[in-house]
Symmetry: C2
Subunit: 295 residues, 2 copies
Amino acid sequence: MSGLTLTVFTEKYKKLVEQQLKDSVSQLAAPEIILDSMHYSLSAGGKRIRPLLTFATMSAFGKDPETGLLPAAAIEMIHTYSLIHDDLPSMDDDDLRRGIPTNHKVYGEAIAILAGDALLTYSFQLITSMQDFDAEVKIKVMEIIAKSAGAEGMVGGQVGDIEGEGKQLSKEDLEYIHVHKTGKMLEASVLVGAHLAGADKKQMKLLTEFAYHLGLAFQIRDDILDVEGDEQLIGKPLGSDVDNHKSTYPALLTMEGAKKELAYHIAAAKEKLAQLSLQTGLLEEMTDLVANRNS
Amino acid sequence: MSGLTLTVFTEKYKKLVEQQLKDSVSQLAAPEIILDSMHYSLSAGGKRIRPLLTFATMSAFGKDPETGLLPAAAIEMIHTYSLIHDDLPSMDDDDLRRGIPTNHKVYGEAIAILAGDALLTYSFQLITSMQDFDAEVKIKVMEIIAKSAGAEGMVGGQVGDIEGEGKQLSKEDLEYIHVHKTGKMLEASVLVGAHLAGADKKQMKLLTEFAYHLGLAFQIRDDILDVEGDEQLIGKPLGSDVDNHKSTYPALLTMEGAKKELAYHIAAAKEKLAQLSLQTGLLEEMTDLVANRNS
């Protein structure tokens, strides 16, 4: 598929998921400040890579992506809650994200923590309200997402990240952190789409492997951008990894080694896609985008 | 039913749910510190009123309570996560709970926040793994719990509580806070049990009204204990509501007025039970226990 196709696809589905996020929170009867705080971080932009991965995976199977709107929004809510909590003073202590003040800088720590809690909780509620799938499918979607988001997934990775601060980590430790902190929810985004599209076991396995490589590539590119990216495009100061005493791929492997590692994972991800015999054009283009993104 | 029956019932099911909580977390493959932190707060004691309400409700319908073990454990996990987050310095800033240091005093704020996040996430995963019920029932259980725990429920109540600090609240505002912060998860405990036992609409409505009065009674008793309780039994210093500039029922209605209000809600809760024509002996005894508890 052509670059134009991905652009059109992205524009269409980004808009849809952003509208869904807005509508979902607007439906809630709750104190205004918590709804404002939830809206603030949900509408703070971002690439929406996770929902787009869900949609692109469904599309690879010829399934209408729009039927995946609620779980895709749920995944983006979980991603957003994780950013709010990660930015807190007791975690990464970040004042800026995507060029605007972080949630707790605007609403205070207590409301920021509660907005994160509310988004995480609401994400599961959204899945219960999916229309086009039966209860068995919803339960499986819930299981994939909960496992990927929790102690065995994203939260475990964040714990490793915090515990690893100021330590010289091995490549294995660093991989544990990134496979869990970033990789697991990217994997969930793909697997939820695949499950909604009725993927078989072999396809689920290949897509799990694809997501593994994509997730590592994503994180290596992140580490590279923190050194040689454009501060304006990224929306926060460069060098935050060094400031936070975090291990990174460039520090561990040299910048050249990190770029080689990135190229390896991009190639491996594409190879897995090629083995699927599906319409994986959009997923391939998204993989290239991850490798070359500037923000 | 006799007092002995409730004692035996409580002893049996408290043990079962505490074992389930321990086993569930032990199964997780995650960094040791997050598992330790989750275990720490889950095993810090407590009355386990929420799971016991689920079990007692199932028992009222003649349904084996043990089949509700996983959702009951899930509800207790959500309660535990809410305590960990409520105790944080940016929220109530409590150093002690149930006579031992709060989670963040032992593990630090970052791990405490993440342990809360992990418990909340895991609670939904637990429900997906229930054995004795079909997917439709699990989805309904999930829906009840997510709605009660999120922005429209417990989190909304906590927001109201924080926003209300230092302000003179009306009785209506105070009721909003307590119905949501405490009441909604007590209600969920009852309704999940009822749903698992196959309750009809009329029964669900009566049990919702029962839980409403029980929840308010629970909170009024809490406010009374904060003034005239036994510090040893409660496990934290008295007068914390005054110290945190919180509105309370005794402050709003006088101590005598608060006790009258407590008696009213206990009587109303019992009246709802009486209308059910079920074996509600255990639920009645639990209601009396809420009214008279010393901790």
